[in-house]
């Protein structure tokens, strides 16, 4: 490995980790502020430095300081090793899943072709799927090692939910995999670059609208957010991280927001063209009705990078809005939705996609 490749890899790691963690920190603030606006409250605005409040943004730092300085309590009779391992596992697995998501098309830097994702994983979607399926352990271990019956029950509920929706999540994307003939997220994003019927961007959602709705539903359940927040339900039925305090609780909390970002990135890449800017080709904007707007080629990677993050932020906003709009599902409703509605619909979608490909080719 030459020095320039090493530097490029280092920059990629730093940019990705900083971008994801900054967005996650901003989401903690956005969640409180947005819920406040939606419920006709003012929301977090008390923290101030030298009298400056900047719409409550200091609360991000205040929360971080609070969590790091709080007592890190490990309950007696708990399994100390597993109790400590669980939050680290949750955080690591949620963050590492982002490595497979391309933030732009490949670019040339100093004679090297640089992949705009952390790891050139050609089974991209399967990798993210594997990480989410392993992250069940973080929940189950955190719950069980606490030696607290409420936490254990919460962990069981969470594990049941995550396992149930994993299947629907995998099956809903398979239609897209059949369409593009690849698992590689970069190839999938590239395939969404053209136009459909001359005016629509050829994004996945226009080919697989049902698949998108199924994946969106399943992915909200995987992120354990309302209306699928039975695993947590902080104030009513108590969740799996009951016995966690301080930064270990904070890591579970951050893992949830990072998972939200990964979910947004996955939805963007699979169904909303990933880094593709609508109508932008290699030389400029080709708008409908023959309009053309030239763009210097040096600018295009930046536009793609910006487009990707814009879409991710949009989906984060959408997920937050859904959270504060829909009430929580009951456990039987949750299971019925997963097994009796999402799963059959995903199978129907798969069948229809297969038939469509067979008929049209």
């Amino acid at each position: 490995m030459t020095l320039s490749l090493f530097v490029i890899a280092l920059v990629k790691v730093l940019v990705t980790v900083i971008a994801v963690l900054t967005l996650a920190a901003l989401l903690t603030w956005a969640e409180r502020k947005q819920s406040a606006v939606m419920q006709d409250r003012i929301g977090a605005n008390r923290a101030k430095i030298f009298g400056v409040r900047i719409i409550g943004l200091w609360h991000i730092i205040a929360d971080a300081v609070k969590m790091m300085t709080k007592e890190d309590f490990v309950p007696p009779y708990s399994n100390r090793f597993l109790h400590t391992l669980a939050p680290f596992l949750a955080f690591f697995l949620s963050l590492v899943a982002f490595a497979a998501i391309p933030m732009g098309d490949s670019i040339q830097i100093a004679g090297h072709t640089v992949d705009m994702r952390l790891a050139p994983i050609n089974i991209g979607f399967l990798f993210i799927f594997a990480m989410t399926s392993i992250s069940v352990y973080a929940v189950v271990l955190g719950a069980w090692s606490s030696r607290n019956r409420y936490a254990t029950l919460g962990g069981m509920r969470a594990a049941g939910q995550m396992i149930s929706y994993e299947l629907a999540m995998g099956l809903s994307v398979l239609g897209l995999v059949m369409l593009y003939g690849t698992l590689d997220l970069l190839q999938m994003a590239r395939a969404q670059g053209g136009l459909l019927w001359g005016f629509l961007p050829a994004w996945g959602i226009f080919y697989q609208p049902l698949g998108f709705i199924l994946l969106l539903t399943a992915i909200i359940a995987e992120t354990k957010r309302a209306p699928f927040d039975i695993p947590e339900a902080e104030s009513e039925i108590i969740g799996y991280y009951l016995e966690y305090s301080g930064m270990k609780f904070g890591m579970f909390f951050m893992a949830e927001f990072v998972t939200t970002i990964v979910a947004a990135g996955l939805l963007t890449t699979l169904y909303f063209g990933g880094f593709q800017v609508p109508y932008l080709l290699a030389d400029g904007f080709h708008l409908p009705f023959g309009l053309f707007l030239g763009v210097p080629s040096a600018l295009i990677p930046w536009l793609q990078f910006a487009a990707f993050w814009f879409k991710v932020v949009f989906f984060c906003w959408l997920l937050l809005t859904i959270r504060w709009t829909l009430p929580r599902f009951r456990y039987d409703q949750l299971m019925n939705l997963g097994w009796k509605i999402l799963l059959p619909l995903a199978l129907v979608n798969l069948l229809a996609t297969g038939a469509g490909i067979l008929l049209l080719s």
Binding site: F127, V140, A159, I163
Partner: protein, 166 residues
């Protein structure tokens, strides 16, 4: 150098997990040790340039089957299971015999296998090749196995329900 070190590390983790599975008395610890082995094996598959197999290993074995194991163990375990290990001599002898037979069988297969061609096949083991193998060349045994699993599932439900009716 780095591949050899990685191979060594993953192998040690896999063997450590397998050893812990046998020696730990707490069934939860055993299940977690098995997860460790599964994940290490997935890493070894990655080294053999078989990323699809590695991902499936993690998703199916570590992510689904072992979670179920853990789930059931956490639910049905009782407090007396922390007691001393029962050493049943005749059963121990039979178990040793079966283990020795199984080991001999596996060692035989491993020694006879043509590893050079297997490594070459592994590098091309992408999703398409696996799908072709399963859904055209070996379709009949594959479907047979799925019917077998279905039969086992129905059997479990029947056995579990038997007590309820009486």
């Amino acid at each position: 150098m780095v591949p050899q070190l990685l191979f060594l590390l993953l192998s040690v983790i896999a063997l450590l997990g397998a050893g812990m599975l046998l020696l730990r008395r707490d069934p939860i610890d055993g299940a977690l040790a098995l997860v460790m082995t599964m994940v290490a094996l997935a890493g070894l598959y990655l080294q053999l340039v078989a990323p699809v197999i590695a991902a499936l290993q993690v998703i199916v074995y570590a992510g689904a089957i072992m979670v179920l194991f853990l789930f059931v163990t956490m639910f049905v375990r009782r407090s007396e299971e922390h007691g001393p290990l029962h050493r049943n001599r005749p059963v121990f002898g039979v178990a040793l015999l079966v283990a020795a037979l199984l080991f001999g069988l596996l060692a035989n297969v491993a020694l006879r296998a043509d590893l050079s061609s297997a490594a070459a096949a592994g590098s091309s083991a992408d999703l398409r090749a696996i799908a072709e193998q399963i859904f055209s060349a070996d379709l009949f045994p594959f479907e047979l196995v799925s019917v077998l699993l279905l039969v086992a599932m129905v059997g479990v439900v029947v056995l579990a329900r038997r007590g309820e009716e009486s």
